[in-house]
Amino acid sequence: MASYNTVKITRQEEIAPGFYFLSFKSPFLVHQAQPGQFVYFRCSNTYDPLLPRPFSIAMVNEEKNEAAVLYQVVGRGTALLAQKKELDYLNVLGPLGRGFTLPPLGQPFQPKCCPKGLEQLKNFPQFFLRIAVVAGGVGIAPLFFLLQRLKDLPDLIIEILIGARSTKQLLLKPEIKNLSPQINLHLATDDGSCGYHGPVTEMLSTLLGADKIDLVYACGPKAMLKTVAKLLAEYNLPGEVSLEKQMGCGVGACLSCVCKTKGDKENSFRYSRVCKEGPVFPAQEIIWED
């Protein structure tokens, strides 16, 4: 039976003001986790705050048998987590949820194993599949793990677009540069302190307009994801987005963390569980309203 595992923290570092990188020993996660999946941490040993907190898996290190998360202190749970030190123990449940669908390469495209929308790549004439990975702020977390997996796949051209408020919040920049020479890094800041001065989605729009992208993965603030989904619809391209939502049980039982998705009939909707059907969804399945 699966359950919470007690793991030892190997690194806890404030990599930017209010943003922390936390790694811990977990051979299990290293072998089981898929990019886009999350872990559930018990940040408190008391009843207050009560609920565990979900964090996307940001990185796995097979040599060290470590997994890592990247988080921003936003409330009481993350504030308590930030107080934990190296060699402290942490209770972890996971991996949970549905992660990103990796592009099926090195073989003829199989529509069945593709995420919704990827079928249209079936007759893709080019040799290379061109992927844009779009991150907003701390949304880089699951995408870094995704990049760790993508970089080993053949025949890809990867454009990574990262947006943040200012240069200090451009997280994991050196780590991304070290990942692979195959990855082209594009930066954007709201205050113009680094890279493109403006929203990261404007850079994406330019790339899409120049017909340079076949597939998009994104994670970040809701407004950013909504724009990404709109652009994908405009250019009729497939893509997946990872959502964030406050969770109750984390395993699909309580129906607290739902988001509106398209139903079976036209103009119908259903509430899908971000912890179970997500946190990664095909961009076109989400109804962006609230």
């Binding site: 039976m1 919470y4 129906l255």
Partner: protein, 307 residues
């Protein structure tokens, strides 16, 4: 090791131990099957069902509060047909009693749902939810009025041969009055308590956090309210009681039992510890052994005889 007797009988329903799940906190069992050997549970109470599928309330549906959570799910469920075809067969494999929590907007809907559920095999009992605070129609409006509560209970009883457990709301002035009314209407057992009506405000947005405005409070914060309700109803009504409301440990469960509950149900604790039901079961067993109590039933309501 000394064997202890954990068996419980509620309304003719024989449970091998007193640990049940709270409706709405355990899905349909599937979600927790990777974490809990479901066959070890005394019984499973599934997510509240309605005649037709319900989409549920708009999000946000959850707020964390001091030692508790407020939820306003709004009875999202796939409807009774889907339950019968796709979920009940799955649950049957665990050979534990399946208690179906049922809700409706009208008395007629409760009656029709009871009739439909009674045609199915492998359902052990019905738990009638007359206390959901999170739906516009039905729910709490039945649970807060003795006449309406009795009417719903009678409608369900007239349409089923299954034991009928009525789940009561703490959001009333005198819960024992409602308990008496449903007892007279033929209820076979009582579940105490549903969530406590509450609310939270978002300071930044200056508006209610929950999409439904109000929500139901659960978790450790409501345990004393629940124990008080069990105590009061035990004094006034002779029906067996399933105690619930903030049970996180075996000690919590034993408090409910000593207050008068024959069985207990674990709800919000599942979110924090998916193994909570099993941990609580083992804890109760250990308590009996350590205190040389042969039968759990000897503890039911004992606190009443010491006042």
């Amino acid at each position: 090791m000394v064997a202890v007797d954990l068996t419980v009988e509620i309304a003719g329903l024989k449970l091998k131990n007193p640990v049940i799940t709270v409706s709405g906190t355990f899905g349909f069992g599937q979600e927790y099957a990777p974490y809990v050997d479901l066959s070890r549970l005394g019984a499973i109470t599934v997510k509240g069902l309605t005649l037709l599928p319900r989409p549920g309330n708009p999000p946000p549906r959850l707020v964390e509060t001091p030692a508790g959570i407020l939820n306003a799910i709004g009875l999202q469920n796939p409807g009774v047909e889907y339950f019968a075809a796709s979920i009940l067969p799955y649950l049957s494999q665990f050979k534990i009693p399946v208690i179906v929590n049922m809700a409706g907007e009208t008395v007629e809907e409760y009656a029709a749902l009871a009739a439909k559920l009674s045609e199915l095999n492998n359902i052990a009992a019905l738990e009638v939810n007359i206390s959901c605070p999170n739906v516009k129609k039905g729910g709490l409006q039945f649970g807060s009025d003795p006449t309406a509560a009795a009417e719903v209970t009678r409608a369900v009883k007239n349409n089923t041969c299954l034991p009928v457990i009525v789940k009561l709301s703490p959001n009333v002035t005198r819960i024992e009055i409602i308990a008496q009314a449903v007892a007279q209407a033929g209820a076979d057992a009582l579940s105490l308590i549903n969530t406590v009506l509450g609310m939270a405000i978002d300071l930044k947005e200056r508006r209610p956090i929950l999409g439904n405005i109000f929500g139901g409070l659960s978790g450790p914060a409501i345990k004393p309210v629940a124990i008080r309700a069990v105590w009061q109803v035990f004094e006034e009504v002779s029906l067996p009681i399933i105690g619930m409301g903030g049970i996180f440990t075996a000690q919590d469960a034993l408090e409910f039992i000593m207050a008068g509950a024959k069985a207990i149900a674990v709800g919000t604790a599942n979110f924090i510890n998916p193994r909570a039901t099993i941990d609580i079961l083992e804890g109760i067993e250990n308590y009996l052994r350590e205190n040389k109590i042969e039968k759990l039933s000897d503890l039911v309501g004992v606190a009443h005889y010491k006042t």
